[in-house]
Amino acid sequence: MRSLTEILEACTSSGESFARRALALSAMESGCTEDSIRKGMISRLKDMELSVQKALSGSWRGVLVPQEAHLFKEYGSSGGAFSSPFVLTAARISLAVSTYNAAMGRIVAAPTAGSCGILPGLLFSYREHFGGDDETLLSGLIAAAAVGEVTAARATLAGASGGCQAECGAAMAMGAAALVQMRKGSPEALGQAVALAYKSILGLVCDPVGGLVESPCIKRNGMLVSLGALAADMALAGVKSIIPPDEVIDAIGQVGRALPESLRETAGGGLAVTPTARKLVKDLLEEQPE
């Protein structure tokens, strides 16, 4: 699967939804039946739901980052928040799942472990606020997978190759696609949501403190759900990206290749080399018994 434009054009001529067309294409390319891919995705959705339940019901923390998602619940219900209830729930789930990952919880990499909060945040907040059934969530997950697969083919999904654009950025663009799909927006709007989403995080670097999947990863998971939601809203409102989605994804790949190695998951630049980060890492190494 190499081109969103090809899928979108096929949708226009057949009248199928994006998810429907993408599933058929995936079956054709992989040699698996549509039914077996659907079943696989249903099992992923169940594992994702399980990770959300576990993440929200326990008190988890990372090595560096403490438990914080619960603070957000209290604040969110205070009524004074600037973000919508949908975004608040999505951010809370995303923070929680991402913290659960840091605490060695069982998660679904979507597309990676470092970005595993964003898709469950958007999918399960959608269900809570707009009442989507399993079939609706499944269509969203399939749309997200297709966007991820095109990104893997045209750019990359590895922070070590493309920076955080390729991990949290990709999860966010995939999530924007899922939202438009679950709303039954047009395939064109779905493509625009992906383009708008990716454009807004172009150049995002991967600079984890101590090389751990914690800071800034966890908060970035929490923050980016808002961009995913806004990209879907803009696209559904009819706002269009001047640059078409496939070309935006090519730009992600090109910028990723241009990023210096210090900003591609090596903990050699950005936040990872700030004085505070250095001190945290030094303390951590001293704590470790040999």
Partner: protein, 228 residues
């Protein structure tokens, strides 16, 4: 890459390369050793496995894998306690090796009768792994496909015997690589096959009996979350 690779694997966090890959590597290394109990296994973590290993649970994951756990096993979190409780004979060390893959480990097994096996493997990204050395042979084994490794004496007919046996069972060979240390010395044949599920004991023992020069056969399969 398929949809289930993009949305997946299902794994214990926090890192696909440092946690899921480490568990998978431990499991494949143990598969190379086989089923007989061992006196001790020492794991030498290298590169970033050694540097950020503890923070990523690499130590727990690699021991969990040696004990047979898959990358999504909740038991990984408490694997070191479990190992102590079960008197699982492991030691964890770190080592620096020039030119080694940044996320890699060396496994040194010692059997009850004193014989040894060394396996070197790397976690190459996204939870995928590669065994790079088995018993001194340079290999490239991912475990994505069901794989058999034979250890045999270098002589004529071993490849033909293994190929004929698989052909009789209608098993397609995806790849086959032959390695030897010296003419007439120890040799190894790595065969990847198109099969659903892992190579079973019946197949393993049949291949082991396929030629008198074959000393041992190890079945390798990552049984990964990458499959549906």
């Amino acid at each position: 890459m398929g949809f289930l690779d993009i949305i997946g694997p299902v794994m214990i966090g926090p890192s696909s390369s440092h946690t899921a890959g480490a568990a998978r590597l431990g499991r494949l290394a143990k598969a190379c050793w086989g089923n007989e109990p061992f006196e001790e296994v020492t794991v030498f973590l290298r590169g970033s496995f050694a540097f950020t290993g503890r923070g990523h649970g690499t130590d727990k994951a690699v021991i969990a894998g040696l004990m047979g756990m898959l990358p999504d096993d909740e038991g990984i979190r408490t694997a070191l306690d479990e190992a102590k409780k079960k008197h699982f004979p492991y030691r964890l060390e770190t080592e620096h090796v020039d030119g080694a893959h940044p996320n890699s480990a060396r496994f040194a097994f010692r059997g009850k009768d004193g014989h040894t096996l060394e396996v070197v493997g790397a976690s190459i990204g996204g939870g995928a792994v590669e065994l790079q050395e088995v018993d001194g042979f340079s290999v490239a084994i991912s475990g994505d496909l069901p794989t058999l490794i034979t250890f045999h004496k270098d002589t004529h007919g071993v490849v033909a015997a293994v190929a004929a046996l698989l052909a009789n069972r209608k098993i397609n060979i995806a790849s086959m690589t032959l390695h030897r240390k010296a003419r007439g010395g120890m040799a190894s044949l790595v065969t990847e096959m198109d099969m659903d599920g892992p190579p079973d004991e019946a197949l393993r023992s049949a291949v082991a009996a396929a030629h008198p020069a074959i000393l041992r056969v190890a079945p390798i399969y990552s049984g990964s979350g990458r499959q549906p």
